[in-house]
Amino acid sequence: MLSRYPIKRNALLPLLHLAQQENGGWLSEESIKYVAEICEVSETHVEGVISFYTMYKLKKPGKYHLQICTCVPCCLVGGEELLEHTESKLGIHAGSTGDDGMFSIEEMECIGACSFAPAIIVNEDYHEKVNPESMDQLITDLRNTP
């Protein structure tokens, strides 16, 4: 990946994504040190970058990370209600992980599926036109997935 950029530092964001993927969905101090070394930047710089963007996580998320959009178009068609419903169903608030480590919830700003709202992302998959009932079904399906 480094070879696709003129300066090593340019590859920082994709490399952090890769490190996060390989580390189970979050970035440990070792990952940060390692990426800083190969991109030839300081750890302070990497920390600054991580804290700026929302997608880099410093804590392990649930097996299924539910990213629920509540931005303007989704909000108009029930995005916030969907979030509340999911929070009460799973017993956890947005920004935290369930004790069994199965699910974590994150409230998202616009995820770019506005005409197909309400929309959520589960790990890397989009689910569109979601309502509380289909949400319940989805959670059940995910629980039953081996």
Binding site: I7, L16, L76, F116
Partner: protein
């Protein structure tokens, strides 16, 4: 009763379309690139200028003109960066192109690279767009395998590479200079301009940043000519436009229209009108940063110029419709919350202003509103116009001032009963 005008979506609307390289070539794909390669880059720039193509990312800046600003003979490589950050609330058009017709877009990108002498183009896709990233990477792999990218891609000895670069969750990275900083591996802080990207952009080299849809228009312009493109739509607003329609309509979706249709026609003809037979209260016509229009104001031509004259803007062509049951103050709160969350924080008016404005609207929702606070909200929000490093300050200011001005009665509902 208007219908879609299919140019960009021609393949997507075909249910049996095969989006692979083979499928794209079957419907005439990559003829435009071949034709473009026979022209000189300068000629290509002139054709695009003549076509009147304007940027589809939100600013509507003439693309050919932007290309002509590229600094020449600097000894440094030139770059074309495609802005696929698409984070403006309400916008979901670029993803349709990347997901369902990636080669069409990539051909446009390659034409653009040729026009500005770019040897390595980057496509900055927002990190959350996992399906689009996958789709693009697969398509790019196909192109390399077929020899359309890599060595001799643009002719003998003329190499072209494309790389998909993922963002990581920041709306501000859709702003061109913040995008460049993010692409360089830094925090996405917009830069002071001048110097402009055309002189000093990616790694201090001459750079142009274009939107996905803008680049996807290029194959048509090259194949059919500048005049044919101009024919779609009114003077100075050439070509078709992808509109992301969402909110309280029967048929939300992404539609391709000429720019001489009206907003009303988009909502009622294409969108099927307000769902549940309700009445319309208002429309946000161009993404969350555009001033809102009331139900009485929707009979406006949906073009850059007409919308500008009507006191709003085309922006990213994201039409968000809300009906009579909508709580406008809650809607504004969600918008201010969005800008508060996405402000990069470097300059004073936006960092403090977006936060303060959101606190004031929140105060209204708690039932503590009064006229003094209305005025304050208008002032705090409005003061962000023209005083910030980048346009996010303006973008945050406009919805606040427009909502407060056009829906005062909604705010009055939240006035506290006690004396102000």
């Amino acid at each position: 009763m208007i219908e879609e005008t299919l140019v960009l979506f021609q393949n997507i609307r075909n249910p049996s379309y095969d989006k692979s390289l083979k499928g794209y070539k079957k419907v005439g794909g990559f003829k435009a690139l071949k034709k473009a390669l026979k022209m000189k880059p300068e000629e290509l720039v002139e054709v695009v200028k003549a076509s009147g193509l304007r940027g589809r990312g939100g600013a509507g800046f003439p693309t050919g003109l932007k290309w002509s600003f590229m600094a020449k003979n600097t000894g440094k490589p030139s770059y074309l960066i495609c802005n696929a950050d698409e984070s403006e609330p309400g916008t979901c058009k670029d993803r349709e192109l990347m997901l369902k017709d990636p080669h069409h877009f990539l051909e446009g990108m390659m034409i653009g690279c040729y026009a500005i002498n770019c040897k390595h183009g980057y496509i900055y896709v927002r990190g959350e767009y996992f399906p689009s990233i996958k789709s693009l990477n697969e398509a790019i792999d196909e192109l390399y395998a077929a020899g359309l990218l890599g060595e001799n891609a643009l002719g003998k000895g003329k190499r072209l590479d494309l790389t998909v670069h993922t963002g990581a969750g920041a709306y501000i990275c859709g702003e061109e200079s913040a995008l460049l900083d993010s692409l360089e591996g830094k925090r996405g802080h917009p830069r002071v301009k001048p110097p402009f990207p055309a002189v000093s952009g990616f790694n201090a080299c001459p750079t142009t940043v274009n939107n996905v849809e803008t680049l996807t228009c290029l194959p048509f312009i090259v194949n059919e000519g500048a005049e044919a493109f101009k024919d779609f739509g009114p003077e100075n607003n050439a070509g078709t436009h992808l509109v992301s329609l969402s909110g309280h309509v029967e048929k939300p979706g992404v539609y391709e229209v000429r720019m001489d249709v009206t907003l009303k026609q988009i909502i009622y003809d294409l969108g099927g009108g307000i769902r549940g037979g309700k009445a319309l209260k208002g429309v946000i016509p161009g993404g969350a940063s555009s001033p809102v229009l009331t139900a009485k104001e929707i009979d406006v031509e949906y073009s850059f110029d007409a919308l500008g004259k009507a006191g709003t803007m085309m922006g990213s062509a994201a039409v968000m419709v809300f009906d009579e049951d909508t709580d406008v103050v809650k809607l504004l709160h969600r918008i201010t919350r969005f800008f508060n969350h996405e402000s990069c924080g470097q300059c004073t008016p936006c960092r403090e202003g977006t936060h303060w404005a959101r606190l004031i609207v929140q105060d209204f929702l708690k039932g503590n509103g009064n006229e003094r606070k209305m005025k304050r909200l208008h002032r705090v929000g409005g003061n962000m116009m023209g005083t910030t490093v980048c346009a996010l300050g303006d973008a945050a200011a406009m919805p606040i001032t427009s909502f407060v001005t056009k829906f005062p009665e909604e705010f009055e509902k939240y006035y506290t009963q006690a004396a102000a």
